[in-house]
Symmetry: C2
Subunit: 308 residues, 2 copies
């Protein structure tokens, strides 16, 4: 077994830039990822907020390769690699491991609903076995509001029992702290790393033995979220959490992914960032203006985000 450092802290599910032809734009993507790393935020590329499921496997492999070729550190990358099709998940996961990614965030196959824990166990097991690489670290992705395929405690127990080295943790995007707490209580003391899916729960998660967060708004507010992670044991942490919540509240008044892109477009002075792939659509000009206005009222900035 090789000695892979555990991933921890704050990661951004990096939003994916598209050109006018709706093709992914590797140059903008590399630049954004470099900026996020400079803010001490890791790269959960191909998450829900990345429109990852609107990309083909080939498009995702090309984007990973471009990041690595640009010299970005793959140990800071946790690409989403769980697809509907077993063969797609295997191919993408194997590629992520091959280039040295620190971990992968794995959705269950999400087309079929009401599937059994046995079927989900086999899905994850087949991917782990077929990738067959001791360096693989899987973070299981629980996001029932979108996937409609929840991950149960019993399933995780079985996966950990069978693959203790490969199953490294989870991301809980269910928005139910009680569920997060149940996973923390059950598994964290054994070294299982729980990332919450929103910085809303970051302080609670750290105080309960969690590992960090993978949050939409880490795309736009990375420095401040990273600071709370670094200083959560300090006095003033609750006030920091309150300020993060205020910023997040603004974004939550809009469709999240278009709002993240609108904010980046505004602060980077690069209108191309506002493009989304269908079925998602950009904010209207009025919405974008309302968003940036509310953010300015809170003194929100994106320091170091270079205009292009």
């Amino acid at each position: 077994m090789t000695n892979v450092p555990r991933m921890a802290g704050v990661l951004a599910p990096v939003v994916t830039p598209f050109g006018a032809d709706l093709a992914p734009d590797p140059e903008r993507f590399v630049r954004q990822c470099r900026w996020l790393l400079s803010q001490n935020v890791g790269l959960a590329i191909f998450g829900t907020n990345s429109e990852a499921n609107s990309l083909s496997v080939d498009e995702k492999i090309e984007l990973i390769d471009r990041l690595v070729a640009a010299g970005l550190d793959p140990t800071r990358m946790m690409p989403g690699t769980g697809c509907c099709a077993l063969t797609d998940s295997v191919r993408l996961t194997a590629h992520a491991v091959k280039v040295g990614c620190g971990g992968v965030l794995m959705l269950p196959p999400f087309y079929y609903k009401g599937v059994s824990d046995e079927g989900l166990f086999r899905s994850f097991a087949e991917v782990i076995e077929r990738v067959g690489d001791a360096r693989l670290r899987v973070y299981v992705y629980h996001i029932p509001p979108v996937s409609h395929v929840p991950i149960t405690l019993k399933l995780m127990e079985r996966l950990l029992d069978r693959y203790p080295a490969q199953v490294a943790g989870m991301k809980d995007s269910g928005g139910d702290w009680g569920n997060t707490k149940a996973f923390l209580d059950a598994f964290a003391s054994a070294g299982f790393d729980v990332f919450v899916g929103s910085e809303t729960y970051l302080l609670r998660n750290m105080r309960s033995g969690g590992a960090g967060c993978v949050s939409a708004t880490a795309n736009v507010n990375p420095g401040a979220i990273g600071r709370l992670y670094d200083t959560w044991r300090n006095e003033g942490a609750d006030a920091q959490q309150g300020r993060l919540d205020a910023i997040r509240d603004v974004f939550q008044k809009f469709p999240m992914i278009p709002a993240l892109k609108a904010a980046i477009a505004h602060h980077a002075r690069d209108g191309g960032w506002a493009t989304l792939r269908p079925p998602l659509v950009a904010l209207t000009a009025a919405q974008a203006s309302a968003l940036t206005g509310k953010l300015e009222a809170l003194g929100f900035t994106m320091p170091g985000l270079d205009p292009c």
Copy 2:
């Protein structure tokens, strides 16, 4: 505009056979499709019951090509080509058109939930425009219990208004006759072809101006379902519908896709047919035995299904 004959009648969402290594088995697939055509049932390959979303695009293209190479009539094929990723949907749809498929059954992108009609319109429009072939016939796939992304009347109206030649019809697998009737009332008289997603509604659909059905159980009971379609105007049609319902009721007591495969395995004397790709799992031996027992009690047979 070329003169493509409209698809009509009964189609099976053909179940996909897998080897012990979980790879699709083209030989069994060709044999099964040939048998279905001999029963006068069309080939809605890559439907929900085909475990299509557990297959990669490459695997689907290979299976279409094998059918065509084996001499099966592509005008009887309505492959499912709607994927989460725009580029996957375009690639698979273009391939289906290239080999001469009579139509394609198109899911909306189904990962993101609560998306707008504007976003869904753009999704379908981008695929139609990028495929850019006058031969393309799209049947829009409404299956909210699985996709959680419903197709509204307003969306369909807009698609028909913009692409009257390409948008040929729909499959309604919502299980709500009121919804089917609303689509029939709104669009059938203009030549829009509504297929119901279960033979349960076949007689009602035909009496209301529908085009046929694409039904799970057409995989196992094709002859009898096809007969009702051929003779729905005749006396005795209601009694025929009753007999179809009794057979379907048996299958519905079990997980449908595993039950279809178990029935084929039993009647073709070919245990390999029982294999499913995760996250789906085969019936237990006890379930399979209960299924075949109940079917025998109803005098169910699969005439002409060759043992291999």
